[in-house]
Symmetry: C2
Subunit: 336 residues, 2 copies
């Protein structure tokens, strides 16, 4: 009760009552009306998600950069696509991505379905020339026919771009990590977080981190946020923070300059390195840089340690997953 009272006190201090009293992470994710989640779609989506034959070279799958055996990404600063090519951004975690309002760092996709279509034909990611080529290849792989028909009925041609991305999105909606120490704590287990983690949680509220990172996934209530809010030559130079214009790279509007999707803080202890460009190697540094660039505050070593301890309390339980068995190929031709 003492801890709970401290929490309430901290919340009262900032007026962000809804923030830290947010519900625990839901165990199921909402699905769009035109793509209800079904077991058959999830089965197919899991196959497609892990199939490197969706890339030009046959070596890069969705899971290569958004690794479901890891924290949902690749631990690299910038992901590496076909033929060793790298882009300028760090792969966001796929875990709990169902709770993002938009997808990609610049939020250019409005849904998981739309996101899933992108990397496959990006020349430096999965490198396929077109989705027509992807569909043609899937049709040559015996075994996919049945999986698509089971997921989407067999009255018409089911192996399509639309169905492939729907299946992948349906699978991604199952990638949820509940039961973190924080979740247990907000459900009433006062011992689930230790004193340092509670101190860190209160500090997060007090500082105002929660004005952007609140809600069950700690990624709202807003969708986008400017980064950096408070220019700082030292950090910006050291971590190349301002090189990437975020949403403005897509819209070309000045008003969108440096606007990024607010990322979830769930499992953040597992997803180093940090930020849109993966430039910050440790969580300690990331916390310090965020406080300075977003809130214009300098944290003591103790405050940083407390916040990092709290962020570790956001590591959830990873559901057991059976490996998909991918259908064999009689003769797919890959690019070198």
């Amino acid at each position: 009760m003492f801890k709970i009272r401290m929490l309430v006190a901290a919340i009262a201090l900032t007026g962000s009552l809804s923030v830290m009293a947010a519900d625990a992470l839901p165990t199921t994710a909402p699905a769009p009306a035109d793509n209800p989640t079904t077991a058959e779609k999830v089965t197919l989506g899991k196959m497609l998600y892990h199939d490197p034959r969706l890339s030009s070279t046959g070596t890069v799958s969705c899971a290569s950069c958004h690794n479901t055996m890891l924290g949902g990404e690749d631990n690299r600063p910038n992901s590496m696509g076909v033929n060793g090519q790298t882009g300028g951004r760090s792969a966001p975690t796929v875990w709990n991505s169902a709770f993002n309002t938009v997808q990609f760092w610049d939020g250019r996709a409005a849904s998981l379905e739309e996101q899933a279509a992108g990397p496959v034909t990006n020349p430096i990611e999965m490198g396929m020339k077109s989705w027509d080529d992807v569909v043609a290849r899937l049709k040559t792989i015996r075994g996919y026919r049945k999986a698509f028909d089971l997921a989407f009925g067999s009255d018409s041609e089911t192996i399509t771009k639309d169905n492939a991305t729907k299946a992948i999105a349906a699978y991604e909606r199952t990638l949820i990590t509940p039961n973190s120490a924080y979740d247990k704590y907000v459900k009433g287990d006062a011992d689930a977080m230790n004193e340092q983690q509670v101190r860190g949680m209160n500090k997060v509220v007090e500082l105002g981190c929660t004005s952007c990172h609140s809600g069950p996934a700690f990624n709202g209530p807003g969708v986008f946020q400017k980064f950096p809010m408070h220019p700082n030559g030292y950090f910006e130079a050291q971590y190349h923070i301002s090189k990437d214009k975020g949403l403005a790279e897509v819209t070309k509007k000045d008003s969108d300059a440096h606007m990024f999707k607010v990322p979830t803080l769930r499992n953040i202890a597992l997803t180093a390195p940090y930020f849109h460009n993966g430039s910050v190697p440790t969580l300690e540094k990331a916390v310090r840089v965020m406080a300075k660039l977003q809130l214009d505050k300098e944290l003591s070593d103790e405050e940083v340690a407390d916040i990092v301890a709290f962020l570790n309390a956001l590591t959830g339980e990873f559901p057991k997953q059976e490996m998909p068995v991918l259908p064999g190929t009689p003769g797919v031709t890959f690019n070198n």
Copy 2:
């Protein structure tokens, strides 16, 4: 009984009684005296096998080329390692590799343990500079300490090259695909193979394919075989058969020229393209080329179709595998 009688007749015809009457594929593999298989080693080995952070770029794991979700390889002619580099050989399947006497196409590794050490520091495969670097990196990944200690005791430093390769080999010894149609057939279920498959099996014996491809894994009794046995300019030119000197590339002895490990025929329908260099895209062509180059025989279309039908009966049951949960990284540095 009719089919069984046909089988016995075919065997009697060639005198290869032990060949087609071979036992079904065992469901467990023997382990060396200094590396008995334990659940803890298998758990650790499965993690290491699927961890791309064992490569210089953090993008290539053992499973990238020997994909446990696929037929145990990558469906590519030549595998692709770090930075899009390719070698001259096709990845052999990891499924049932525990039943190989030697490993690699040129048989240069005497055990799975020895094999596992190779690709990690091969500059065009996983690209690590040394196993010392691998061990140093594993020590920075929280979570591996516990897994190594559980597998190898905690009295001394357990994160070593020797233990890592032992764990990987222990995991690989569990990758067995029993209960193919052929296995059911030899166990007495006469309906497990159809008539065409039985015809194909008899043809395989009659032709003498089994002089190299016999035993439960269809990869013995000999260990090495010369390829091609019967020079053929057309096929050799078309498929670059003789460019690779096989074992002689390692030993530099003329007597080892073009000697290759006899590969298993288990699951061969799933592992196109074929041969040491992956030059032959389909099983039909592979059967025709082998008959000509190894036995100096030209097959009719019907004979090829029958043999391919039989080879499809060698596709086994893939055991259900849970995905490993790889420990998160606080700050590993990868090469670009």
